[in-house]
């Protein structure tokens, strides 16, 4: 009886493990192939039969990208935009989250509903008036134009998440500051923000990722190569050099590193915050 149960469990375990490995290959092989291709010479990319590690294994493709000022500029631009978007989004969302979490005021539900519904508005609908607006305001092909428009994606999510986070903190915390003669402003910055750092990190990481990955606005609202961000840079590489696949893959990996590092560092917090947002938002 016990042995059959144990064998059955062993079979079940083997079955789950097989399933996990097959699914894992589906998820990981394309990524592995990207890595492998970035370490080949361009002549070997389509060799038959395909090989994971080839004779001319080298980091030349990475050196090409990192030694090229035009490519590095894409990275600089992406860092500037994503950092600015993250800082501004957090600042604005902390204030808004505080208002939603600690005050009741007329129009609260309406404003909240508007913020939630902003998330559903299609970027393709916005990009046309944004183009008109950004040109009219002289922000076409500038950092502020991109930073401002990226916030339409990052702000609603950040406000919802920060409000939810602040709601989990007891109100007695900020009341104690007010009893000591502090204002709601000091309660926010001295007490609530410092203890909300874990939640703010999760929101910040997600904000950074959204901005770093954004494609449509970066494509439409910038024009010159020195203002392009990494996703557009990857696309430009596709057109310019008639398919230097190894360089395109090296650029793709270099462009993915910031998000990968952030994710691995903050994985647990991040997944927790994300699912809370997706389920509750």
């Amino acid at each position: 009886m016990t042995t059959t149960l144990r064998t059955r469990q062993r079979f079940a375990k083997a079955g789950v493990l097989t399933g996990l490995v097959i699914g894992g290959l589906f998820a990981a092989l394309p990524v592995l192939w990207m890595l492998s291709t970035s370490l080949k010479s361009n002549g070997e990319v389509f060799q038959n039969p395909p090989q994971l590690i080839t004779e001319s294994f080298s980091f030349d493709a990475y050196a090409e990208i990192l030694g090229n000022g035009a490519q590095l500029r894409f990275f600089l631009n992406s860092y500037i935009v994503a950092f600015a978007v993250t800082v501004l989004t957090l600042l604005v969302a902390i204030l808004a989250g505080y208002a939603f979490s600690r005050f009741t005021f007329p129009g609260q539900k309406t404003i909240n509903a508007v913020i939630v519904s902003v998330q559903a508005v299609p970027p393709i609908t916005l990009v046309i008036p944004y183009f008109g607006l950004v040109v009219a305001l002289g922000l076409y092909n500038t950092y502020p134009g991109l930073i401002l428009t990226h916030m339409v994606f990052t702000l609603p999510y950040a406000i919802i998440m920060i409000t939810a986070y602040l709601n989990t903190l007891p109100k007695e915390l900020d009341e104690s500051v007010k009893v000591d003669g502090g204002t709601s402003w000091t309660a926010l910055w001295r007490i609530l923000v410092p203890i909300s750092v874990p939640g703010l990190i999760a929101v910040g990481v997600y904000t950074f990722m959204i901005s770093w990955n954004e494609y449509l606005f970066a494509l439409t609202l910038t024009r010159t190569d020195d203002m392009r961000t990494v996703p557009i840079g990857i696309q430009l590489l596709m057109g310019q050099h008639s398919y230097e696949w190894n360089q395109m893959m090296a650029m793709s990996i270099l462009g993915s590193i910031p998000v990968l590092v952030l994710f691995l560092l903050f994985q647990r917090r991040f997944i927790g915050g994300l699912t809370a947002g997706a389920v509750k938002a």
Binding site: Q9, L20, P30, F105, T125, I128, Q235, F263
Partner: protein, 313 residues
């Protein structure tokens, strides 16, 4: 912003606000709007004004590129709705989002259940979890480039299929009109399932164990437990994720733009690529605006369902 820095009430909120302290109540009433003012300004600038602008563009002619635009009534909408390319884009979008969402759900659920197994240790599961999330960590531009390499006529996908005897000769997945839409949908399935999976995994972990134990006592087999415990418990998450996914997938632009550009012969044209081309390739901003408003309306229908579902919960 000045009102936010102004001294606020010293009274705890629990205390009823008494009418003999009008100044404190006034600041207390105004301060939330102070805190919200940057958000309100940004929402007006980034959302309210642009939507008003795009709607007004859609009823006019010669917008953006020319100074003197004229009222055109519904002409732009007639142009868009009778354009065979738009109708093709509508149909392609419907196929693309439905197949993607169903596949995301099936893969996401299957993977989440495997990752939630009691049979394996925590470390093994944690490693697999990272592997399974991988596709989601790459930006769409990168995903498009990877799959252009993999799906190349002499690429590794064709090599594997030929070696297994499933294909006679290399197929150009992305430029064969009969296959391009399915190829693009497949890539979108690969890139999008992890988000479903993460949410469903959280949902699975939230199902109380007693339910399974009770079912086991009643003699339920694994399939019955899945159908009678797991699915009903996950139903709210599944439904709201499915609606969210339909909305997001309908907004997908970068993937299709970089994989096929809507081609060949518009077989992968979706609403977003159609609208983009009208605006930024044809410079027909007025018809593009009409298409953009139609896209907005379609999204609002989906969003309406989403909100209704959230309220039911």
């Amino acid at each position: 912003m000045t009102s936010t820095t102004a001294p606020d009430t010293t009274a705890p909120t629990q205390e009823p606000v008494t009418p003999d302290r009008p100044r404190t109540t006034l600041t207390r009433r105004l301060s939330p709007f102070g805190y919200l003012s940057p958000t309100i300004v940004l929402i007006v600038v980034l959302m309210v004004i642009p939507i008003v602008m795009v709607i007004s563009y859609s009823f006019r002619d010669n917008v953006i590129v020319q100074e003197n635009s004229v009222f055109a009534g519904l002409a732009n909408y007639t142009t868009v709705l009778t354009d065979p390319n738009f109708l093709a884009a509508l149909k392609n979008t419907a196929i693309f989002i439905t197949v993607s969402t169903v596949a995301h759900l099936i893969l996401g659920l299957a993977f989440a259940m495997m990752l939630n197994t009691q049979l394996l240790g925590g470390v093994t599961k944690a490693i697999f979890r990272i592997v399974y999330i991988l596709p989601w960590l790459f930006t769409i531009a990168v995903i498009a480039v990877i799959w252009r390499l993999l799906l190349d006529p002499s690429g590794v996908v064709n090599y594997v299929l030929q070696t297994l005897g499933l294909l006679q000769e290399g197929v150009n997945w992305l430029s064969d009109p009969g296959k391009a839409l399915w190829a693009v949908t497949f890539v979108n399935i690969w890139s999008g399932y992890p988000f479903f999976m993460i949410s469903l995994l959280a949902g699975l972990q939230g199902i109380p164990n007693d339910l399974y134990e009770a079912a086991a006592v009643d003699g339920a087999n694994p399939v019955q437990r899945f159908l009678n415990v797991t699915l009903p418990q996950l139903r709210p998450v599944i439904i709201s994720m499915a609606v969210l996914d339909l909305i997001w997938t309908s907004q997908q632009f970068a993937l299709i733009w970089m994989l096929t550009g809507g081609g060949p012969l518009n077989v992968t044209e979706v609403l977003s690529t159609f609208t983009y081309k009208q605006a930024f390739s044809e410079y027909e901003f007025a018809t593009a605006s009409a298409a953009a408003v139609i896209v907005l309306l379609l999204t609002m229908v989906l969003a309406f369902f989403y909100v209704r579902l959230q309220k039911e919960r």
